[in-house]
């Protein structure tokens, strides 16, 4: 597993300054983007293209906290994706949130409140990931990364339900 941090020349840490990430990304692309290799040998151009692709991958992955945290775990040899099974306690937590969302599917105000509390929970979870990574408490980090994934999905679902309600309202008013 190649380190995205290495590709962009950034220090390995979960907390990441987006401006610094952008600068590293732009600098790397300035060096390796295929536009810089027009008229060069085929081998040079092929190398530039593959580097440029990796740089794009690295930027996209590090930009998002969840993907960034998953990448940090990958570097430790731990692979977590959307199919990874959560521990039972987390599963219960997730199911409760889902249930609350579905119970309030027709109630815009409580959906908004759910979305807000999900955002807060995600902020807390992100902080917990940072703490866990700083102290190299990998099991704790794993659980928080799983939690962040579920919270994100639930937030998406909340937004989807809010969108549906709005669309239904717009139709009525038409």
């Amino acid at each position: 597993m190649q380190s995205y941090y290495e590709i962009l020349g950034l220090p390995v840490s979960f907390a990441l300054n987006l401006k610094a990430l952008e600068k590293a990304y732009f600098d790397a692309q300035r060096q390796w983007h295929p536009d810089r290799f027009i008229g060069k040998s085929e081998a040079d151009r092929a190398e530039a293209a593959s580097r440029s692709m990796l740089i794009n991958d690295a930027y996209e992955a590090l930009k998002h906290p969840l993907q960034r945290a998953r990448h940090l775990l990958e570097l430790q040899g731990i692979f977590i994706d959307d199919e990874t099974n959560p521990p039972p306690a987390l599963l219960m937590e997730v199911m409760e949130v889902r249930e609350r969302l579905h119970d309030s599917a027709e109630d815009g105000r409580s959906l908004m409140a759910e979305a807000e509390s999900l955002k807060k929970a995600m902020a807390i979870c992100t902080q917990a990931i940072d703490d866990a990574f700083t102290t190299r408490d990998i099991p704790a980090m794993q659980e928080e990364v799983l939690r962040l994934g579920y919270l994100g999905k639930s937030l998406e679902e909340a937004h989807m339900l809010i969108y549906r309600l709005k669309a239904a309202h717009a139709k009525e008013h038409h």
Partner: protein, 614 residues
């Protein structure tokens, strides 16, 4: 997450010649412009009559070919064998055109399948050939004006152009004797011209409403980097559609049917003239077949209102993708001839809550940007363009669901590899179906290519490792490669133009994707519920087979009855019913499951490693 990058580059690009110029070309639907940049200053190239805007019209006049103003004049005079707006057919197959309104303006060659062909002067021509005539004309114009050879160009394409249309454009350039340094997206080119001109920083929306296509791109300009954040569009929406709306109005007023192609083309010319007149005057008329049909500006505005609304829907989509509010823009730039229409300026201004920039000529700005990039690519530059791919690419998976491999608005160049396996013992071949689009189900996306990876060594299901790699290069062109990792059986696919996405299909797919997002999710949930229910049935059957001894009298019958109810529910399309019956099963098997668990724990107290996760 295993990634493999393979590059398939065509022939090697020769080193730039000092005395050969690199130009920028805006190959437009209704007109084209060629420009050249020197030391970061771009200017449009004019013909001998001082004209920079060249109609993209080709007249096959007997044995010789006439392009531009003369060809347009011939068209207005009702000459046969005149072809306009060929860009709308780039990368399309004959089948693509069957149900579209496009065909009316062309005499199509019905004899061919695969790529569409147009009949003119007794010849059967591809859109690539016809476009190459326009490019040749522009190239000669530039050579004449500059007094030197021109062999390289940056050519612009709509941001929403699919793989087939991009490939066709590259082929047309090759036919015209031009080496394509890079295909760049029209709004990105406009941003380049505008940004370098104004030394702008911040987030900008480029609203590009041309003759045949609409694009919206959201870009960030910072430290000399032009980073496209998102793009959206409609490849069958432009000034041409307004002309057609006017033509339909005239035909209706006069009680006529759609006439044969040459006459219809004449009517479209007259409609365009009336539209242009309405930009500055409140009243105009469509002069056709010796008769004048009056048209007022309010009448015209009523006709095109829904077309403008559709552009604003795309804007909403692009902003959402970029995660930016309309009012958070640092500027909005108008590009394309259709933005001259006063009503368009007003509506765009209202949408973004600010007066759009129209300082640079909207007809020239794209070519100027292309010229700047051509200079940057041959002479070097500190500026950098980072663009994205407009449509998601994916593979068909079990149940007819699309697994997205590269998401739309991902930065390019991009390569993503994914591993698959066989699901039957002894399986030696794997069918791969590549699709493009935003919808969840394969049948709702556009099929780009299908191929079969053969020569997989026969082994037990799940043991073969097949890696499929999608690559999108910096021109936005796709290639797909598949490899069986245990034997190294390889297959590479060049996506065939006849499979290219049709313009109207991209538009339809995106519109449908927004309208059907909800239906898609429900459909997916239903499929998932069925899969889950089937798995539960299998688990229960396995449990009863293995631990049947733990069942109490009558318990087996009860469980089997509930399983039957689940099977019935699976056959229906009622997800709630499936979920309900599966939940009921929980109650029925609850105590049996508990007994199994107790037995298992009793047996497993031997040794169990502590799992780090739990």
């Amino acid at each position: 997450m295993i990634k493999l990058i393979q590059i398939y580059e065509p022939g090697q690009t020769p080193l730039p010649h000092a005395d050969s110029a690199a130009i920028g070309i805006d190959l437009g639907t209704t007109h084209s412009v060629v420009a050249i940049a020197t030391d970061g200053e771009a200017e449009a190239i004019h013909d001998a009559h001082g004209r920079a805007i060249i109609p993209s019209v080709v007249h096959y006049d007997g044995s010789h070919v006439v392009v531009g103003h003369e060809a347009r004049r011939a068209q207005a005079e009702g000459e046969a064998d005149v072809i306009a707006s060929i860009k709308r057919l780039m990368g399309k197959s004959a089948a693509d055109l069957q149900d579209s309104g496009e065909a009316a303006a062309y005499t199509l060659d019905a004899q061919t399948s695969g790529l569409v062909r147009v009949k003119a002067a007794g010849r059967s021509l591809t859109p690539v050939e016809i476009s190459s005539e326009v490019l040749k004309h522009l190239r000669h114009m530039a050579e004449e004006a500059l007094g030197r050879d021109v062999s390289k160009a940056v050519i612009t394409v709509p941001a929403y152009f699919d793989d087939a249309a991009r490939a066709a454009t590259k082929d047309a350039a090759k036919l015209a004797g031009l080496e394509v340094l890079r295909l760049i997206n029209e709004p990105t080119a406009a941003a380049l011209a505008y940004g370098l001109d104004a030394n702008a920083q911040g987030i900008f929306a480029i609203y590009d409403f041309g003759g045949g296509t609409f694009d919206i791109s959201v870009l960030r300009l910072e430290q000399g980097v032009f980073q496209v954040l998102s793009t959206a569009g409609d490849t069958e929406l432009g000034g041409d559609d307004m002309d057609r709306a006017i033509a339909a109005y005239v035909l209706q007023k006069r009680g006529l049917n759609v006439p044969e192609p040459a006459l219809y083309a004449q009517l479209l010319s007259a409609a365009r003239a009336a539209k242009e007149e309405l930009t500055t005057s409140p009243q105009a008329g469509v002069l056709w077949e010796g008769e004048r049909t009056p048209l007022s500006r309010p009448e015209f505005e009523a006709m095109v209102e829904t077309l403008i609304e559709r552009t604003l829907d795309c804007c909403t989509d692009a902003l959402r993708e970029a995660g930016i509010e309309p009012t958070a823009m640092d500027g909005v730039v108008l590009v394309g001839g259709s933005t001259r229409i006063p009503q368009v300026k007003v509506k765009v201004g209202e949408f973004f809550g600010r007066t759009p920039h129209d300082k640079l000529d909207p007809d020239l700005v794209v070519a100027l940007g292309a010229a700047l990039q051509a200079e940057a690519l041959t002479r070097g530059s500190d500026n950098l363009l980072l663009d994205v791919t407009p449509l998601s690419l994916g593979l068909e998976t079990m149940g007819g669901i699309v697994e997205k491999i590269i998401h739309r608005n991902s930065p390019i160049p991009s390569a993503v590899a994914q591993e698959f396996t066989t699901y039957q013992d002894g399986q030696t071949a794997l069918k791969v179906h590549v699709v493009q689009g935003e919808r969840e189900k394969v049948e709702d996306c556009r099929s780009l290519a299908q191929f079969v990876l053969r020569g997989i060594p026969p082994m037990a299901a799940g043991l073969a490792r097949i890696r499929i790699t999608f690559t999108i290069d910096a021109d936005g062109l796709l290639s797909v490669a598949a490899e069986e990792l245990t034997t190294g059986a390889k297959q590479q696919v060049d996506v065939q133009p006849s499979y290219g996405l049709a313009f109207e299909e991209i538009e339809r797919m995106l519109r449908d994707s927004m309208e059907n997002a909800r239906a898609d999710i429900l459909e997916r949930l239903l499929i998932e519920a069925r899969v889950e229910a089937k798995r539960t049935l299998q688990d229960v059957a396995n449990a009863m087979a293995r631990d049947g001894a733990l069942l109490r009298p009558g318990e087996r019958e009860m469980i089997e009855a509930q399983c039957l109810r689940i099977s019935t529910a699976i056959a229906s399309t009622d997800r709630d019913k499936i979920d309900h019956e599966v939940k009921q099963l929980d109650h029925v098997v609850g105590s049996f499951a508990q007994r199994r668990m107790d037995a298992a724990i009793a047996g497993a107290l031997v040794s169990k490693p502590v799992d780090a996760i739990e």
